[in-house]
């Protein structure tokens, strides 16, 4: 499948190198800027960096559209169709996080250099995860992301809940990393390599039924499940979502999920595709549990962030439906699902941030009461987001669900599909409740909704994208399918 070229091929990693350099530049700029100029410079530089990064990827794939996979650093780093799309999605998502968070953080004196630095280092980690072709590179990327995220959750030093959330996140995250490493060491023992392509070769030809591989796989899947936040490894998700400052929740809930998808693809599909029968069963259990628990417990939540945390758990269950199919169609459905999911999450949290003001968090469900009377436009946007999350056509969320359900049904899991469908009816209830609050109830708070033009424009684009892409989902679906077909 791959030939490692004895060539460092630095140019292939130019976007990542650029990201690293710019992050360091931003660190210096932050140091030498006066207080009043700092905010503008940080914002400009970070967005500029991410946009250039995306442009570079776009230009690259425009000039070499049909390349299957290219390797750098002696085969430890790979750029293929999947990596390009996932990286672009990550960069755009992170840029959106920064724009959404700005006003919120400025009002709370938290829009500092540390925030930008941590978020950019985390981004770098994600890029490496997505492009890694070696277990060590994968792990490096993962830890860069994880360590930055722990610090981000704790960024609001004076908040007890934030510190508690950071602590939980760190301990459970470290445990997950440990499990993952342990599992990977088993795989190393069985196959004698840490290189994704070589492991794949060995497993394909001789070791698919090796108990050592299966044993290692259990730990690997457990570690991945921790990172993804699927049941029964989900305990950290609600607390971290709830406890972290909203922009950090938004960050954790969005771009890293894309990276986690790439990570899972590299480990399960790329390197252990030969042992699909082994991990498929595990994913079935994880998916079924996540769908049930995420949807049912979300009903009982009164805090919107906590509700979205459980909703994330159920969405990850859906994502697994696509991956566990173990086919290219299934993988590409998963990829489509994760991008859709991130787009929806960004819009939902953008909405929370819109309604928040200095000294006031709009993260309770009741804060959405009567939004239609305060502003029909924002209520409409939130309606799109909620129905999209519930999987009601014609919004994008429907197509994502359709794609993964098709993948799972094609793999023969009819009962699981029916189960997922029943669970998503339960899920629809709590999304509907928000629509109900917005449209059927009287507002309790009539303060005007103010936001910068950039924020409003982005939020509207974000939410309307769910409708427009829902009407024309073909492009994104085909892009995902092509990317996966060229990558595996």
């Amino acid at each position: 499948m791959s030939v490692s070229i004895p060539n460092m091929n630095f140019l292939l990693a130019a976007p990542e190198i650029f990201l690293l350099i710019m992050t360091c530049v931003i660190m210096l700029v932050d140091l030498y800027s006066s207080a009043e100029k700092r905010e503008g410079r940080l914002l400009f530089l970070s967005i500029f960096t991410l946009l250039v990064f995306t442009m570079r990827l776009a230009v690259d794939s425009y000039y070499e559209p049909n390349v299957f996979a290219r390797y750098a650093f002696n085969g430890m780093f790979v750029v293929d169709g999947m990596a390009v799309i996932l990286k672009a999605a990550i960069a755009i998502a992170v840029a959106m996080v920064i724009i959404y968070s700005r006003a919120y953080l400025v009002a709370r004196n938290m829009f500092t250099g540390e925030f930008i630095l941590l978020i950019l280092f985390a981004t770098l980690g994600m890029m490496i995860m997505v492009s890694a072709n070696h277990f060590v590179t994968l792990y490096l990327g993962l830890e860069l992301l994880a360590l930055s995220s722990y610090a981000m959750v704790a960024l609001n030093r004076d908040s007890v809940t934030s510190s508690e959330a950071a602590m939980k996140y760190f301990i459970l995250g470290a445990l997950a990393s440990g499990l993952l490493l342990y599992g990977l060491s088993m795989v190393y023992g069985a196959t004698g390599s840490l290189d994704v392509a070589k492991v794949a070769k060995v497993i394909d030809y001789s070791r698919a039924n090796d108990p050592l591989v299966t044993f290692g796989l259990v730990f690997v899947v457990a570690g991945l499940a921790f990172k993804l936040g699927v049941v029964p490894f989900h305990m950290w998700v609600p607390d971290v979502y709830h406890g972290a400052p909203t922009p950090m929740t938004l960050f954790i809930g969005s771009a890293p999920k894309i990276a986690a998808f790439g990570f899972i693809m590299r480990i399960l599909a790329d390197s252990m595709g030969g042992a699909v029968a082994d991990w498929q069963d595990m994913l079935v259990i994880l998916a079924a549990l996540s769908l049930a628990l995420g949807n049912i417990i979300a009903i009982a939540q009164t805090n919107l962030k906590r509700m979205l945390a459980y909703s994330t758990i159920s969405h990850m269950g859906f994502l697994l439906l696509g991956i566990l199919a173990g086919t290219k169609n299934g993988y590409s459905s998963g990829m489509f699902y994760i991008i859709t999911y991130v787009l929806m999450t960004l819009a939902a949290f953008g909405m929370i941030m819109l309604l928040s003001r200095a000294g006031f968090e709009a993260d309770n469900l009741d804060d959405f009461k009567g939004l239609n009377q305060r502003s029909p436009w924002y209520a409409f946007l939130m309606l799109i987001v909620m129905f999209s999350m519930a999987g009601i056509p014609p919004f994008l969320g429907f197509w994502a669900k359709l794609a993964v359900l098709e993948g799972a049904l094609n793999a023969g899991y009819t009962w699981l599909v029916v189960f997922a469908v029943l669970m998503s009816v339960i899920g629809a209830f709590y999304y509907l409740r928000i629509v109900k609050l917005m449209y059927f109830d009287e507002p309790t708070d009539n303060s005007p909704i103010v936001a910068a033009a950039g924020f409003r424009g982005l939020l509207a684009t974000n939410a309307l994208a769910l409708l427009v892409l829902g009407l024309f989902p073909g492009l994104l679906m085909t892009a995902c399918l092509n990317a996966i077909q060229r990558s595996l």
């Binding site: 129905f387 197509w399 359709l402 509907l432 109900k436």
Partner: protein, 495 residues
């Protein structure tokens, strides 16, 4: 039939665009412009649908006014539209009813006018899409998207228990339709990647698969019809919905369920349909007879008409599952006729409700003394609802009973009971509300119909009478499609 017609697209998108336009006229002083835009939009919606009637080829059972464009190539989903004799009438009925709803809302709705009208216009377009789609996913998309405006209509402008009713309505229908989605994906795999409904009609299926598919579709459509025992959302939704919402629910969305049986259950699972016909007929007869008795016991006018709708829809499903042309055409005629009559009944109740703000039968009495014109219409539609000959209500019921008689005397007998029951509950209600002495001061203060109300009730009265006296054009349209469907169902798929 590969023509480049855009008639069907127009019937879908003209109302939706008009709705979006209305949505933007949302300030207090734009209320009137919102109303006019909505009215013009709905009239245009009907106007673009007229060619469906004039250009329709009665002799053909194939899809007509076909449109087909690739939409999502990844899943081979097409934007494919077409109507046959079964679906064409409902596109017209829906476009027609939308105008009535807009007129009926004119002065009555004062709160969030533009959103109210926009919701109805958008829904009208979506419903046309449901009837016109020949691609399963496109059908599903319209089918589900329709829930969103209806949910808002019930929840925002409805009565006191509107939230409960709206959520119940949404979740009931969603559960059914998601099971249908699973069935569609299954069929997609069986047909090697096609979402074309006509491919599903052709693909051979074993008995187990057919039975499972039948129940998946049944879950979706029986909730929509609604059939006993999954009918409980309907009285709640009807009672709490604003008048326009009740009209659209009764006149149109219930028909979607019955239409689904014809488009999916019967042709895709013909053998299972035969095997389960007894089951379906039993449920239908329970709806006809038992729900008829339930209607008799109601004290709330809207609830009474809601139960009467369930009972009448029982007739429709009965007609479908006795597998002969009379029954099936009778069912279809009954659907159209019920569309007119139930719309008229709900509009009549709306007229009273706007004046007195009560739906209780006991709050009225002797309305004829103060509202003679209204009394005329109430009695006329009451008669039509109980199936008096020369009204449209008679034609469908009579055909279904004739068809049932061919199959089994007792089916026909049980179905015929409803003629008595229907007369009993409808006329008894009319008697209590309209006739007698003036019951109270509210009734004494009633003003008779104004020009706007006269307008929409007269239009419906004409429709009811024309269809009752001369049903031939309606049955002519559906004849060849029904024959083709019955032939297909009789052939079966087992081999």
């Amino acid at each position: 039939m590969q023509s480049s017609s855009i008639t069907l697209s127009l019937t879908i998108w003209v109302p939706i665009l008009a709705g979006v336009l209305t949505l933007f006229l949302n300030s207090e002083r734009q209320k009137d412009s919102a109303r006019w835009v909505a009215l013009i939009g709905s009239i245009l919606g009907l106007a673009v649908a007229i060619p469906l009637w004039t250009g329709f080829d009665n002799a053909s059972s194939a899809m007509q006014f076909v449109e087909r464009t690739s939409w999502v190539s990844r899943f081979n989903i097409n934007y494919a539209l077409g109507v046959d004799g079964i679906s064409m009438l409902f596109v017209l009925l829906n476009s027609f009813t939308t105008i009535l709803v807009v007129i009926a809302a004119w002065e009555v709705i004062q709160d969030k006018v533009s959103q109210y009208l926009a919701a109805f216009l958008i829904m009208s377009g979506l419903i046309n899409g449901v009837f016109a789609a020949t691609d399963a996913i496109l059908f599903y998309l319209f089918f589900e998207a329709m829930l969103i405006p209806m949910f808002l209509i019930i929840g925002v402008w409805g009565g006191p228990r509107r939230v409960y009713a709206a959520v119940k309505f949404f979740l009931y229908t969603l559960l059914g339709s998601l099971l249908m989605l699973a069935a569609l994906i299954y069929l997609y795999n069986v047909t090697n990647g096609s979402f074309d409904i006509s491919d599903y009609h052709r693909v051979p299926l074993g008995m187990t698969a057919q039975t499972l598919l039948f129940f998946a579709f049944f879950a979706s459509f029986s909730v929509k019809v609604p059939m006993w025992p999954v009918h409980t959302w309907l009285p709640d939704a009807h009672v709490e919905a604003p008048t326009g919402g009740s009209v659209i629910l009764a006149a149109i969305t219930l028909k979607i369920g019955a239409y689904g049986f014809l488009r999916f259950n019967l042709p895709i699972a013909p053998d299972a349909s035969h095997a389960l016909a007894g089951f379906m007929i039993t449920l239908s007869l329970i709806a006809v007879v038992y729900i008829g008795f339930v209607a008799l016991a109601q004290t709330d006018m809207k609830k009474l008409v809601a139960y009467s709708s369930i009972s009448h829809m029982g007739f429709v499903t009965l007609g479908f599952f006795i597998f002969n042309a009379q029954g099936m055409e009778g069912g279809l005629v009954q659907m159209v006729s019920h569309g007119f009559i139930s719309a008229a009944m709900f509009l009549c109740i709306g007229v009273l409700y706007d004046r007195v703000h009560s739906r209780e039968i006991s709050a009225y009495g002797g309305v004829v003394n103060t509202m003679p014109k209204f009394a005329f219409f109430a009695v006329l539609f009451g008669m039509a609802n109980s199936g008096l000959p020369a009204t449209s209500g008679f034609v469908g019921e009579f055909m279904v009973i004739l068809g049932a008689m061919k199959v089994n005397f007792w089916f026909a007998f049980a179905a015929a009971i409803t003629l008595i029951l229907g007369a009993a509950y409808t006329l008894w209600m009319v008697k209590r509300v309209v006739f007698g002495d003036i019951a109270n001061d509210d009734v004494r203060a009633l003003k008779d119909l104004n020009g706007r109300e006269m307008l929409f009730l007269s239009i419906l009265a004409i429709a009811v009478l024309v269809m009752g006296i001369w049903p031939q054009p309606f049955t002519d349209v559906m004849h060849s499609s029904v024959d083709a469907l019955l032939k297909h169902v009789a052939t079966g798929k087992l081999n």
